[in-house]
Symmetry: C2
Subunit: 186 residues, 2 copies
DNA sequence: TGACGCTGTAGACAGTGTCTACCTACTACT
DNA sequence: AGTAGTAGGTAGACACTGTCTACAGCGTCA
């Protein structure tokens, strides 16, 4: 039962460690320790710490993809709302993973798999925005970019309490509704 | 001419180092080296690395306040545009500083001076939003929060090229215009 | 003169990521 | 069957980090 490949085990242990202890605890040596191997072992599969973190982040993008998956039968507007609220809910439920996923200084930039997972997601957002119809003359791709940035900003600023402090509102939901209302037709 | 207090010199050297070498280079020991003192000296003024980084970030917020200062004689709409574009321009011109300012895990949370500088700035945004008039029924404070999150998301995602990759547009200006149009009256 | 703070030095410590030499078990070939 | 080769993991060194503690130089004031 212990025949799980070390490569997979390292990523799995990393995800767990990230959930339990947060991003600063996600050191190469601690991951190796929890996986029950020496600190040099990960090097066999991940030449550098960044590559291991990138693999963990890629697992996070896969989780995110599930979190924003539309429910069957929903129209474009409902799918868009699901995507937006799913994005925020994911960031709220997995703060460490969300922080890692967008810490580009920690990730091997251009790493295969990261852009592969996130770009199709954005394309889906573009399609939904185009399907619902925008309020501005800008092309759907630009509106989708602005909307994504808006959701991401809410997640980011909300994640460390800045938005709560500024607006006096603890729930990010009004902001999400405002963003959706601002960009797409009701 | 060398009578600049070490405390100020450390912050100044830190700001320069951040501009020149980026956030990862901003170690306590390197700052001390460039300030020409031993690595233990900063401890006299900043008990921990986080406190020194917080002081540097506070200098950054002061710079930001200047960057978004409205031009005299402008109406609320123009002031709002100046604030939005100034925020983006600052993030673009000072990527390292911008990254530090919002790396809450690196900053001493609740550090005096950080919230003191950023909250009045947000209040100004609220006033401008209220002055111009919003497109939604949400209170100005919520709209201002959503708009801030939007600008911040554009700055963040644009900073590492994700938005350019997604939208195919290199200039964030269309996104800023879209955000302003989406939230406030033209 | 002598005690006392203030300011900075120097070294130790545990922890990190990376690198290199080695060791072992298994595979494949002659 | 015997042996060479290799994949997979170990162990230790290295330079670097932030923190801590003991100590030295210096001015001030009683």
């Amino acid at each position: 039962m212990c025949d799980e490949p070390l490569r997979d085990r390292l990523v799995r242990v990393g995800v767990e460690l990230l959930e339990q202890e947060g991003l600063p605890a996600l050191t190469l040596r601690e991951i190796a320790r929890r996986a029950g191997v020496s600190h040099g072992a990960p090097r066999r599969y991940f030449p550098t710490h960044l590559e291991l973190l990138s693999a963990i982040a890629r697992a996070g993008f896969a989780q995110l993809e599930v979190a924003v998956r539309p429910r069957p039968g929903d129209g474009p507007r409902a799918q868009l709302a699901t995507l937006a609220r799913g994005y925020l809910a994911f960031a709220r439920a997995n703060p460490g993973m969300f922080a890692l996923m967008f810490r580009h200084d920690l990730l091997a930039s251009g790493h295969l798999g990261l852009r592969e997972t996130s770009l199709p997601l954005f394309d889906r957002l573009v399609d939904l925005v185009a399907g619902v119809g925008t309020r501005s003359a800008a092309p759907p791709r630009v509106v989708a970019g602005a909307l994504w940035a808006n959701l991401h900003g809410i997640a980011q600023l909300g994640g460390w309490g800045s938005l709560q402090l500024a607006t006096g509102e603890d729930d990010p939901e009004p902001l999400v509704s405002a963003a959706l209302d601002a960009y797409v037709r009701g």
